[in-house]
């Protein structure tokens, strides 16, 4: 809908200041799109695919060569610009599509599951480019993903369940909202430590086979204070924070895997990354 590919059933939206219903052409000019499936012409070379895109998006002629080199350098495909796209691997095609999405200097880049079906090395490459992009360009990146660990890189996340945004926030806010961090510590004397935790930090510790466990809001700030102020020698500290998987489960009541299996009930689990930098 935000890409003007589907008509909204209600409401309104603006992308980069343009109404998606009233000014679809302007919206399309301001956004870059990377679809989940490849939309390249395999018979054309990488460079020809990008030049075609530049013409379709009306990139000023004198800028085309500069932009072309820049985006292809970014995804490290400049050396392969004269190869036909059908000779490319899946990862290379995805990289080329990201380059193409950026060719016309969009203000918003939409990526639909940019790393799905790629090997871990390529995935980390793609995230490298996206993070680079975030640092260097004044661009908002909007992406969907099923990989919760990828959502960690995002500035803002929205979880969508049954077509409704159920929660939005930064990764930290979301994690904080579902629960506290868990700190497990082993000490010289657990009984004494338990007492000290209650008296000095007002924390109720639970002892178990792994040691003492407490729940705190900001574990990384708590641990130095704990070690310094406990009065009992600490042998080891282990902390675990709620993951975005936990966040997802809390808000949708199921894991992504279940959601996918239940696709029939039109459930989609989306996470969005948005970053605005001027």
């Amino acid at each position: 809908m935000l890409c003007t590919l589907a008509k909204p059933t209600g409401g309104w939206a603006r992308v980069a200041g343009h109404d998606v219903l009233g000014e679809p052409t302007q919206v399309r000019r301001c956004i870059g799109l990377v679809f989940q499936d490849t939309t390249l012409d395999g018979d054309l070379t990488a460079e020809e695919n990008l030049r075609l895109h530049a013409e379709l998006y009306g990139v000023p002629r004198q800028e085309v060569n500069v932009r072309l080199k820049r985006v292809m350098d970014m995804v490290e495909l400049w050396d392969r610009r004269r190869s036909q796209v059908k000779t490319f691997s899946g990862g290379m095609k995805r990289r080329l599509e990201i380059a193409r999405g950026l060719l016309h200097s969009p203000q918003v880049l939409f990526l639909d599951e940019p790393t799905v079906g790629l090997d871990p090395q390529t995935r980390s490459h793609i995230w490298g480019y996206l993070n680079e992009l975030k640092r260097q360009e004044a661009i908002t990146t909007f992406l969907t993903t099923h990989y919760m660990e990828e959502a960690e890189y995002c500035d803002r996340i929205a979880i969508i369940d049954h077509g409704q945004i159920v929660v939005t926030g930064t990764p930290q806010e979301l994690k904080d909202s579902v629960g506290k961090d868990r700190v497990t510590l082993r000490t010289e004397n657990d009984e004494q430590a338990k007492q000290a935790l209650l008296e000095r930090f007002e924390l109720e510790a639970v002892s178990g086979s792994e040691g003492l466990t407490v729940h705190v809001a900001q574990a990384e700030e708590f641990i130095p204070k704990l070690v310094g102020g406990l009065g009992v020698a600490v042998r080891s500290v282990e902390m675990a924070r709620p993951t975005l998987d936990d966040v997802f489960m809390t808000y949708t009541g199921r894991t992504i895997r279940d959601a996918e299996a239940g696709a029939g009930e039109s459930m989609r689990a989306w996470v969005q990354m948005a970053r605005r930098r001027r």
């Binding site: 603006r14 343009h18 399309r28 939309t39 018979d43 013409e55 379709l56 009306g58």
Partner: protein, 285 residues
């Protein structure tokens, strides 16, 4: 409500210049792909050559009324040119279905370019490719006793261009309605082959049974084959009785259609198809 303040966008699109760039690049893509598909070019030459030199040479001895520098293959030649144009045009247009299958169509449809520009570019591209393919075959004219006169060659190229434009537009209409590649075979068998056989490309339209004559008059391709054949005959020295048999022209009742009307019919049908194709593609997302 947020104000519509726009951050550093250059003048937004929708101008005629942007659309013309769209037409140009879609056209250029067709030619680039054509130039790269050597095997396709060769294949598209082989079929007409088989018709001309195998079927034509096989039938020539049993067909009466040949002689001098006229034989059955000379008669067939303009028909075979039309056949090349027919198959190449429809194939080029239907490549849209491949584009849809491989996702590339989406790249074009989401671009900020008017749909008419995309369809027109595709249509001009397919027409250029089909005409080029026809020209390759036209180089063989001398082998069937047709003189390489500049006037004749130019006329034939022009007529092939018109026919290929109309047929590509027709193919795009088909492609816009076609969801899967499998439908391609159906289109070839039920539409393209009958259009080819009924056009008088490989047999003369004189002395046909009434039902068959009626069908040939419905086939739009007939109205392009006939002018091409007339152009060829005008450059040959053929006795009048052979002309009556092999180049009878098309008549509606007792009205013998002039070349201008025949080409006008092709052009009008082409324009209608183009409009229809644009309409269909303007509705899809």
């Amino acid at each position: 409500m947020a104000s519509a303040s726009v951050i550093g966008v250059r003048t937004a699109g929708g101008s005629i210049n942007d659309d013309l760039r769209g037409v140009w690049i879609v056209w250029k893509r067709e030619l680039t792909r054509f130039g790269r598909a050597r095997l396709r070019i060769v294949t598209a030459v082989v079929q007409p050559v088989l018709y001309l030199f195998v079927l034509g040479s096989g039938l020539a001895p049993v067909i009466p009324g040949q002689g001098g520098n006229f034989d059955f293959r000379t008669f067939m030649f303009p028909g075979v040119l039309a056949m090349t144009v027919l198959f190449t045009s429809v194939f080029s247009a239907i490549s849209i279905v491949w584009d849809r299958e491989f996702g590339f169509l989406r790249e074009m449809l989401v671009a900020p370019v008017s749909r008419w520009a995309l369809v027109l570019g595709k249509c001009l591209g397919g027409a250029s490719v089909a005409t080029a393919q026809g020209i390759i075959l036209l180089l063989m004219a001398g082998l069937v006793h047709i003189p390489y006169s500049p006037g004749l060659l130019l006329t034939l190229v022009g007529e092939m261009a018109l026919l290929s434009f109309a047929l590509t537009a027709f193919g795009i209409v088909l492609a816009s309605r076609m969801a899967q590649l499998e439908a391609f075979q159906v289109v070839m068998q039920f539409l393209v082959m009958p259009m080819f056989f009924l056009s008088g490309a490989i047999f003369p339209l004189s002395a046909l049974p009434a039902w068959l004559g009626a069908l040939t008059e419905i086939d739009p391709v007939s109205y392009a084959v006939d002018p091409m054949r007339k152009a060829v005959f005008a450059n040959l020295d053929v006795p009048p009785n052979l002309v009556r048999t092999f180049n009878p022209g098309i008549s509606w009742g007792s009205w013998q259609l002039p070349i201008g009307v025949e080409l006008g019919i092709v052009a009008i049908l082409g324009a209608i198809m183009l409009g229809w194709a644009i309409r269909n593609f303007s509705k899809t997302d």
